[in-house]
């Protein structure tokens, strides 16, 4: 279903458990378990065996069916498409009616 389109040099293989704040220069493929935040300027690719609980900051992100994730995601901050750091929450209410 998903291609490994964002080739990342770092791989967290199945069976590997990591805890804490992790930073990757060119993305990461997660097949193991990560508890903690991930920051990268590349892609975070969560495979079917991968599990991440923690915040993710990245340029792209793929979660394959079966991959587990829980946490706040902020993808593509550099694109300028996301609203500025908001007061009430990520859902910036805009008057439409």
């Amino acid at each position: 279903m998903f291609r490994l389109q964002h080739i990342a040099p770092s791989i967290i293989g199945p069976g590997l458990r990591l805890r804490g704040e992790l930073s990757f220069e060119r993305g990461v493929i997660v097949g193991g378990t990560v508890q903690g935040a991930i920051a990268t300027s590349g892609c975070v690719h969560l495979t079917a065996t991968g599990s991440v609980s923690g915040a993710v900051r990245a340029d792209a992100m793929v979660i394959e069916a079966g991959g587990r994730f829980e946490g706040k995601v902020t993808i593509g901050e550099a694109t300028g498409l996301l609203p500025r750091e908001e007061k009430g929450g990520p859902f910036r209410r805009r008057r439409t009616a």
Partner: protein, 344 residues
């Protein structure tokens, strides 16, 4: 009338008779003779019942003629609306149809829920939306309410504010702000697109480089899943079934240029607007092209061959008023520009 050539057995003179005739008098010798039943008699073509719908009341699978404007459940007699609607201006009429509903950019719709096979939103909608096949949120489309459909698509250049979205697949090419997004399948965010939500629950995620996503994301948690299934079960019963049984029909739907020429006919005779006489699915070809290129789009599309019914805030009585309204609502120029919008 259909005629057949008959030969008098007495004088061998031939004469034309109706295909329904079983005997006649010879015009030459005035003798009475029987006519052989014509085996090649032209068959009266009954419309094919090639569309299957689930009755919303009893869930009976009803076979209906694809070009029909309405039908009745064979089991419980519930009225089934099969028309396509196009909403312009301020409106609040309840809609439950097995056809499509299109909210034009001028639409300001406010109701409890709209149920249709396909829903296209370019205007402001303050209502829940439930589609058996898909919901497409177009440029300047705004929805306040829950949206449920197997496929929900936010088109390029669309900037959509939605409250809650429930779907199998959510495909975002524009900008989507939502409070909650619940998906059994994948959230796909294309380059240049952005999704901002307070909470996202999905089975898979594909955010391309150049796209943006922000929110609290959860996948595949058992408790969540159960909760999610509760949410989706309401459309599950009717929608998925209807989606799977919608039979592909290669129709006589005409292309956009043809439909554009049909509009003046509707202007001259308001009564014709609701009649199936003129096949005019203005955006039909463009939409089906678009749908065919979508990943995860349900395969064959039904192309309906009847006019959309215009809904306006006031009942249309004046002929000139109707003419101006139709002219303003669906000019041929708008058709082409809209098609370009979908594809561009």
């Amino acid at each position: 009338m259909n005629k057949q050539l008959c030969t008098c057995p007495h004088c061998l003179t031939q004469q034309q008779e109706s295909t329904g005739a079983i005997s006649t008098y010879c015009k030459h010798c005035h003798m009475y003779y029987r006519i052989e039943p014509v085996r090649m008699r032209r068959v009266v073509r009954l419309p094919k019942e090639n569309r299957v719908l689930k009755c919303p009341a009893c869930e009976w699978s009803c076979r209906v003629v694809s070009s029909a404007m309405s039908s009745q459940c064979e089991n419980c007699g519930t009225y089934l609306d099969l028309r396509n609607y196009r909403i312009v201006g301020a409106n609040g009429d309840p809609i439950f149809t097995f056809g499509s509903v299109e909210f034009a950019s001028t639409a300001q719709y406010r109701s409890w829920e709209v149920v249709a096979d396909q829903i296209f939103v370019a205007g402001r909608v303050h209502s829940g939306l439930r589609a058996f096949t898909s919901i497409e949120l177009q440029e300047r489309g705004s929805v306040r309410g829950c949206q449920r459909a197997p496929l929900i698509r936010v088109a390029e250049r669309a900037d959509v504010v939605a409250v809650r979205i429930e779907a199998d697949t959510l495909d975002v090419q524009g900008v989507l702000r939502a409070d909650t997004i619940v998906l059994t399948g994948t959230l796909k965010v294309h380059p240049g697109a952005a999704v901002v939500a307070r909470e996202i629950i999905c089975g898979g995620l594909d955010v391309a480089r150049g796209a943006a996503l922000q929110g609290k994301l959860t996948t595949q948690l058992p408790a969540r899943e159960a909760d999610m299934l509760n949410c989706t079960s309401q459309y599950d019963t009717g929608a998925r079934a209807a989606q799977s049984v919608l039979v592909a029909e290669v129709s006589e739907a005409q292309d956009a240029s043809d439909s554009a020429t049909e509009i003046p006919a509707a202007q001259t005779d308001p009564e014709m607007a609701g009649q199936p006489a003129a096949p005019a699915e203005s955006s039909g070809p463009a939409l089906s092209d678009m749908a065919a290129t979508l990943p995860g789009a349900p395969g064959p599309r039904r192309k309906s061959a009847f006019l959309r019914r215009e809904i306006s805030p006031h009942r249309i009585t004046s002929r000139s008023f109707f003419a101006s309204r139709v002219g303003a609502a669906t000019p041929s120029g708008a058709t082409s520009s809209k098609s370009a919008g979908y594809l561009g």
